[in-house]
């Protein structure tokens, strides 16, 4: 039954197969060889590059952002150390456990945790990931004590912007924030290597390139876990330049205090140089939370507040100037050969010929026969209705524009509005309507279409104080190069407005002096015990027009329809050191609210800050100039 086995045939069969199998092996070995040949010879360069890229890392060294000081060396923006809590996922055995333990030590919001979870999913586990940015001092000290217990966590220090003055100058200095996708479109990313923050508003935004500096770079050899094995070369970053502002933080503080409880703005300028001394806008906000991204709730609270704390009123607020322009209009009149001494009769109202509409004077009993001096001192509206009528809108527009009404002042801030000095051309273009004579009349007292910003008003006032020499308002007074410690002073830009002869200013300035110092002046209330000579002009800007047969009664008007209170002024008269514009929203007449604020601030600046005026002790004497 079993056949005899043919062992020879069997071994031949298997030997045959062994040879075949060896051929198969040789074939497969050739495949391996070809693959390795391909990788090591043909693609060698490509993989060499990749290996180099693996191995070398370029670390950006962000520059230190330039500091911002006020004119007396008070720091307005500085860099402080912030600590981020970072985790290396590779080193963590139980992430959930670690997180719940860290929760005992630092406050972790759900937001922090979900953001971190996303990082864990999307980033390689050998990279440090930030769990929480900007720990407070207590948290970072607790963590640094306990750090050794948790392998895979570290506190990473970095510099971040801090504004020690907080809400005092937030509108002016602005703030930096994290670079957003929109910012990325605008910037040269080379200059922002490793930089996390960018100036978002105010001086921080306008002088971004000055403050930024230049990033450096460091080439290092790293291992697969990102640990630096060797440092190879380094190009040091160049720190940003330090900026010295013309701002006087103490005057700023007083201005903010004076405005407390109101909505309004104060701008003070040194007339000779255009240097901005105070730039206050109330209400305000704390810029510090913005640096690392303000929370949604905080931000929407600020945004939706009816008092608009985020709005920089000093720069962007646009108000009818009211009677504050009367001095300027007198100058425009004189330039057009309308005598300052020309008298007008004020019965308490004015009507255009052939019209029954009565344009009312604030004094319904009338001022009687007034000349330019009296008209400014008592702020007679009818005089200026008539002056405006005589000038006509074209000459008014031309003259007022030269002082800077309806024009940007050229201050070193972003997005300055022009205000509005209306003209026929403007009305046709924007409104598609012809200019009506009645509009000329009300423009004569700074009502109607005319709009000014507090900065503009301060700037034109400074020009007036400077007798027609217009200095461009500026915040930057000096740039300091931290490396060389050399300082570069920014010279003022002064241009004459071209009103000739200069003596024309004398009667107007004299009249504005009497607004404060004269017995009938609208601001005589602040002229009491004043130890220096000042000029001023009140303004009361109507927010709501009053019907012909209506009486304006502040008590009965809803707050949002109440008049804005305005005041402009400068002092000392013979050598003006400060020109100021105060606008307080819905605070009634200029003499009531804005004028006392201006007096307080001028006192403070001239007596306490400059020390050129001695404080009056009782004796109601006129100016005692020391200089």
């Amino acid at each position: 039954m079993t056949q005899v086995r043919d062992y020879l045939r069997e071994s031949a069969l298997v030997q045959n197969r062994i040879v075949l199998f060896f051929l198969l092996i040789a074939l497969l070995m050739s495949v391996l060889f070809l693959r390795l040949f391909y990788l090591q010879m043909i693609q060698h360069e490509q993989y060499s590059t990749l290996a180099q890229n693996n191995r070398f890392d370029l670390f950006s060294l962000p520059p230190v952002r330039g500091l911002i000081y006020d004119r007396n060396g008070e720091i307005l923006a500085q860099n402080i150390h912030g600590y981020n809590l970072q985790i290396l996922p590779d080193k963590v055995e139980n992430m959930d456990e670690l997180l719940s333990e860290l929760r005992q030590l630092v406050e972790l919001t759900d937001n922090d945790l979900t953001r971190f979870q996303k990082l864990l999913e999307n980033r390689p586990p050998f990279e440090w990931q930030t769990l929480k940015a900007n720990l407070n001092e207590e948290e970072s000290s607790i963590l640094s004590i306990n750090q050794h217990q948790y392998p895979g966590i570290q506190l990473r220090a970095h510099l971040q912007r801090h504004y020690p003055q907080g809400e005092l100058v937030s509108h002016l200095v602005g703030y930096t924030g994290r670079i957003s996708p929109e910012d990325l479109d605008k910037i040269d990313s080379q200059m922002y290597q490793g930089v996390e923050y960018i100036g978002k508003s105010g001086v921080e935004a306008f002088y971004e390139t000055t403050l930024l500096g230049r990033p450096g770079v460091e080439r290092v050899e790293t291992n697969a876990h990102g640990r630096v094995v060797r440092r190879l070369e380094q190009i040091s970053p160049v720190s940003g330049q330090t900026i010295h502002l013309s701002l006087d933080i103490k005057l700023q503080e007083k201005s903010m205090e004076a405005l407390e409880g109101y909505e309004g703005a104060v701008v003070a300028i040194e007339p000779g140089s255009g240097e901005v001394l105070a730039f206050a806008s109330v209400p305000t906000y704390d810029p510090n939370p913005f640096v690392n991204g303000i929370s949604e709730t905080e931000y929407s609270a600020l945004r939706s507040s009816p008092t608009k704390p985020l709005l920089n009123r000093a720069l962007y607020g646009r108000y009818a100037p009211g009677s504050t322009i009367k001095g300027f209009l007198s100058l425009v009149g004189m330039e057009n050969q309308i005598s300052f001494n020309r008298r007008s009769h004020c019965p308490g109202w004015y009507s255009l010929p052939g019209d029954t509409h009565r344009y009312r004077c604030w004094n319904k009993f009338g001022h009687g026969n007034v000349d330019g001096h009296q008209a400014i001192v008592q702020s007679c509206d009818v005089y200026f209705y008539k002056l405006a009528r005589l000038l006509g809108i074209d000459r008014m527009h031309e003259g007022m524009t030269r002082f800077g009404f309806g024009e940007q002042t050229g201050i070193d801030l972003i997005g300055e509005p022009t205000g509005l000095m209306p003209s026929r051309e403007w009305k046709t273009r924007v409104r598609g309507q012809p200019w009506f004579p009645g509009e000329t009349v009300i423009t004569g007292i700074g009502q109607g279409y005319m709009l000014v910003t507090p900065l503009q008003l301060a700037s034109t006032t400074a020009t007036l104080a400077n007798r027609g020499n217009k200095a461009t308002p500026k915040l930057l007074s000096e740039i300091e190069h931290p490396q060389s410690e050399s300082r570069e002073t920014i010279p003022p830009i002064v241009e004459p407005v071209g009103l000739k002869p200069e003596t024309l200013y004398d009667p107007v300035i004299q009249s504005m002096r009497d607004v404060v110092h004269g017995p009938t002046g609208t601001a005589r209330g602040i002229g009491k015990d004043i130890p220096y000579d000042m000029a001023g002009k009140t303004g009361t800007a109507q927010v709501k027009s009053i019907a012909q047969d209506e009486e304006y009664d502040e008590q009965n008007v809803e707050k949002k329809f109440r008049d804005h209170s305005l005041f402009i002024g400068f002092a000392p008269l013979d050598d003006p050191k400060i020109a100021i514009a105060v606008i307080v929203e819905h605070a009634g007449s200029g003499s009531k609210t804005a004028a006392p604020i201006a007096r307080k601030l001028l006192d403070y600046y001239l007596i306490d800050r400059l020390g050129i005026i001695e404080k009056q002790d009782g004796a109601p004497q006129a100016a005692v100039l020391q200089s």
């Binding site: 197969r17 060896f22 092996i25």
Partner: protein, 360 residues
């Protein structure tokens, strides 16, 4: 024709190539382990232990091995089941059996036990094998393969299955049958893909085809390994100077990915030397098989040689990015105990077979 004059018999060509490979492994392991003398010592001790086993097995005549075959196989099968049971109870993948002083993978036993068992079955009747023998042979392959897959250790399962299949091929089964089997595999393989493979295994295979699709995740290891090999170039970066290895970009660099370290530091020149050594190793094994005295010895020697080849091919193919990452060591080079022991026993068996007959 016994040449029993100077026992123990050592097949010099085979022994020299083993020694050369071991020498290379010491050199590259020193670099791959970050100059860890501790590891070098352990590796050396294992090799020494392996040498003892080699000598012992070289003295065991093939006819004794023939008698042991079913016992070894059954023992291996039982151990595999024990490992699996422990794994199920312990709720986790389990490949190791811990004997207190010694841990080993029962699947390693199968690298030798399967060729022994199949050779035992096929050698009982005349060749080419009858359908019943083939069926039994396939069963012998299938049982441990399934058990190893369940561990789950796909790489080892595929390797031991291929070894078994090779033995069946060597026994001279008809070509019709071979083509039929290939056809069947082409149908079964896609089904396996869908129903048998775990997600992680599937992603490994998919990553193979495009590791760059997920360079920080599943593709990371392969990419870093390929970069290491490719950047080695013709001459290599020099011993201890491979940036990919020294800076720890290569994963598992002293075990499964040791070839990448070797290729990076010694370049194509080193690679060719290494491939030639392995080719010679397998060639010598097949030569021993070719000249073996009887069918059992011939099939066993062929099967063992095939195992070495498959390990080398799958490991290098894996780190060079043409095969999926299945986690198999490179014979003699990779750092690890179980593998070394089975390898050396295998060489011992080959030498025992070589001893029975004069080989050119």
């Amino acid at each position: 024709m016994r040449t029993d004059t100077n026992p123990p018999y050592i097949d010099l060509p085979l022994f020299s190539v083993v020694l050369m490979l071991f020498g290379l492994s010491l050199v590259i392991l020193y670099s791959a382990s970050g100059e860890d003398m501790d590891r070098i010592m352990k590796h050396g001790i294992r090799f020494g232990f392996g040498l003892v086993l080699l000598v012992i097995f070289a003295r065991i005549p093939p006819r004794v091995l023939l008698q042991w075959s079913p016992h070894v196989y059954l023992t291996g099968l039982i151990l595999l089941m024990v490992v699996l049971a422990i794994g199920i109870i312990g709720k986790g993948a389990q490949r190791w059996l811990d004997l207190g002083f010694f841990r080993f993978q029962p699947s390693e036993i199968m690298r030798i036990a399967i060729p022994m068992m199949i050779a035992w079955i096929l050698a009982r009747t005349s060749l080419p094998p009858k359908p019943l023998s083939i069926f039994l042979g396939i069963l012998v392959v299938l049982l441990p393969t399934v058990l190893v897959i369940l561990q789950p250790d796909l790489g080892t399962a595929i390797l031991i299955a291929m070894t078994g299949i090779t033995v069946i091929f060597l026994s001279g089964i008809g070509w019709k049958l071979i083509f039929a089997a290939l056809f069947a595999i082409s149908i079964i393989a896609p089904a396996m893909w869908v129903f048998v493979l775990h997600d992680y295994q599937r992603s490994r295979v998919l990553t193979l085809f495009d590791p760059w699709a997920d360079p920080l995740g599943a593709g990371y290891h392969i990419i870093q390994s390929i970069i290491a090999i490719g950047s080695g170039g013709f001459q290599g970066k020099g011993w201890l100077s491979g940036t990919q290895s020294q800076l720890e970009f290569i994963p598992e660099r002293s075990t499964d990915f040791i070839f990448s370290v070797f290729a990076e530091e010694f370049g194509l020149i080193g690679v060719v030397v290494l491939l030639m050594l392995y080719l010679f190793l397998v060639f010598r094994g097949l030569m021993i098989a070719f000249y073996a005295q009887n069918t059992y010895s011939r099939l066993l020697a062929g099967g063992l040689s095939a195992t070495y080849f498959f390990y080398v091919f799958v490991n290098i193919g894996m780190v060079a990015g043409i095969l999926p990452v299945v986690g198999v060591p490179l014979p003699l080079m990779s750092y690890g105990g179980s593998s070394m022991v089975t390898l050396m026993i295998g060489f011992g068996i080959l030498m025992s077979i070589a001893r029975s007959k004069k080989i050119p």
